[in-house]
């Protein structure tokens, strides 16, 4: 079980290894807080859809499994969407259309099809947690890189916390704005992935 969890984080890392879930990973990571928020939403959907699909795996007919998976996943996505709109409205607005778009994150359907349809519930939940956490960590790292370079602060939460000053006031006023614009997203993930490959090669 522990291995399932750890595999999910590193060996099967959704973004760095499998290169899926790229859209939210690039689109919402203008700040570390947004990255965590998106990651949490994905963890919730993954864990619950994995659990439910695993519980129902003997009932779900093979021919109709894909539409059933889609219905289950999109139900949890809608639940997350409305819950976020109600209880964390500023975050929900920041993430925008990418919350309902969790539905088409191929990683989630992939886990349903490739893992939880074939494994018992406790393993499936662990798998969901691991994969989700691996995704969240990457989003958090991307958000951290982009926020620190692009805005000079770290972990700012709109309306609650202005964030830690990282390089001091002078940098904040003339930060590398490019990093929070679209090209910065591509750059950040390229660097992260390159670093990951580098570490793997020299291990």
């Amino acid at each position: 079980m522990k291995q399932t969890f750890l595999d999910g984080i590193i060996k099967n890392n959704m973004v760095l290894v499998l290169a899926i879930g790229l859209c939210p990973a690039l689109a919402v990571t203008t700040s570390a807080y947004n990255g965590i928020g998106m990651g949490m939403a994905v963890i919730f959907v993954l864990v619950f859809s994995n659990l439910l699909i695993s519980l129902l795996r003997n009932i779900i007919p093979k021919n109709l499994r894909i539409p059933i998976f889609i219905v289950i996943i999109s139900t949890f996505v809608t639940i997350v969407d409305y819950t976020m709109q109600a209880y964390v409205p500023p975050l929900s607005r920041q993430l925008g259309v990418f919350v309902p778009l969790i539905v088409v994150n191929c990683g989630i359907l992939g886990r349903a099809e490739g893992y939880s349809y074939k494994h018992p519930p406790h393993y499936s939940v662990m798998d969901g947690l691991g994969i989700g956490l691996g995704f969240t960590i990457i989003l958090f790292l991307m958000g951290t890189i982009r926020e620190i370079l692009g805005q000079g602060v770290w972990l700012s939460i709109p309306g609650v916390f202005p964030g830690f000053q990282v390089f001091g006031e002078a940098f904040t006023n003339s930060s590398v704005i490019l990093m929070i614009l679209p090209p910065g997203g591509f750059l950040a993930i390229a660097l992260l992935m390159g670093l990951f490959n580098h570490i793997r090669m020299h291990k």
Binding site: L22, L26, I66, I70, P182, F186, A190
Partner: protein, 194 residues
């Protein structure tokens, strides 16, 4: 906004891939050859336009009148998945020529978030039918453009000396970053912005 401006905005200024980050999986997945990139782009144009029309009518004339907007995500993704399945069968039986060209890309399209994303954006922007269709076509053309451009660059990168750690996807991301930088230059073009 006039339809022409809407077209320019969705095609270049707010390019769906490079500026809005929708449809990145196929953007990096099927962009190693120009030929496949064109096939994928064509399929997206076709499916995106059709799915936009269908979801627009569904939302306006079924989900809103019956107060079912909370089923939006479920219904849209099911509609898109069935549409793609249907098109695949239809092409296979009726238009084999088109099927051999586009067929292999169709199954990949269901999980292309650009399709669902455009359907959502149409609703969030409160577009009418014509605007929705124009938005869908121009977004899909923007997708095709970005895909063909990066495929062309990647074909040339094949023989370039690249550090080992950056081979494969990382260098494609850097390429995309430079393309996005170039597209950023379109903002402000004709008074349009991101």
């Amino acid at each position: 906004m006039s339809l022409f401006l809407l077209f320019i905005s969705a095609f270049l200024v707010n390019n769906i891939v490079l500026m809005r980050f929708l449809g990145l999986c196929p953007f990096f997945g099927v962009s190693s050859k120009i030929e496949t990139a064109i096939g994928m782009g064509m399929s997206v144009i076709f499916v995106m336009t059709l799915s936009t029309i269908i979801t627009w009518f569904l939302y306006r004339y079924i989900l809103i009148p019956f107060d079912l907007i909370y089923l939006r995500t479920v219904v849209f993704i099911l509609v898109i998945a069935s549409l793609v399945q249907f098109l695949e069968l239809f092409f296979k039986k009726q238009i084999p020529g088109l099927y051999s060209a586009l067929g292999i890309f169709l199954p990949l399209i269901t999980t292309n978030c650009a399709i669902l994303g455009v359907a959502f954006l149409n609703i969030d922007s409160d577009f009418g039918l014509i605007s929705s269709i124009v938005f869908a076509i121009s977004s899909a053309l923007g997708f095709l453009l970005a895909l063909v451009l990066i495929a062309g660059i990647r074909e040339r990168l094949e023989n370039a000396p690249i550090p080992d750690a950056l081979k494969g996807l990382p260098i494609s991301f850097i390429t995309a970053a430079l393309m996005a930088l170039a597209f950023l230059g379109f903002s402000g073009f004709m008074g349009l912005s991101l």
